[in-house]
Symmetry: C2
Subunit: 82 residues, 2 copies
Amino acid sequence: MMGKIVRNNKDLGEAIRLARKNKALRQVDVAQRASVRQALVSDLENGATSARLDTVIRVLAALDMDLSIVPRRKAEFNPTEY
Amino acid sequence: MMGKIVRNNKDLGEAIRLARKNKALRQVDVAQRASVRQALVSDLENGATSARLDTVIRVLAALDMDLSIVPRRKAEFNPTEY
DNA sequence: CCTGTTTATACGTAAAATCGTATAAATTAG
DNA sequence: CTAATTTATACGATTTTACGTATAAACAGG
């Protein structure tokens, strides 16, 4: 638990790709479940766009995941954040 | 812990308003911190729009909150309804 | 009440997401 | 190595967000 914190598009993309791989789904499968295009799933995974909240929620739902609001905790050291 | 699950714009709006009240901030204060308009905070709280992910993240950050991805409990794939 | 404060709504404009469709590029399987 | 599959990219069209600005409406004290 202590789900992955999402502070930018890249964080989201990584989480989506990881979850999709774990479920052995193709982008097109996720896309269909979420009623979006395969190209959009690709863009999301690559952090190439800041999607709308409803879109994010639908894609995550397609991967059996939820978005949750949590109080901010001290950030772990993360060399790639900016 | 186990933050509030967000499955639609209304969920987000309620969480934002609650957090803002708890911190005794005005919409305009949150807006300034997040670099958005007061009107947008209002729309967000009222669930009147599906904001972009980066916008949501900025507003939540202004309230010391984070977005987190968590596994869906119980339910298998269950498309978000319209 | 009256008034200052806060929140909701309006409107035109600019920017960005999403679409449909198609194809290039990359990866995997045989 | 080749073919099939999967992922990334392209482009114009459409939809929606977000902006600046202003004002109306709701709210809270005094």
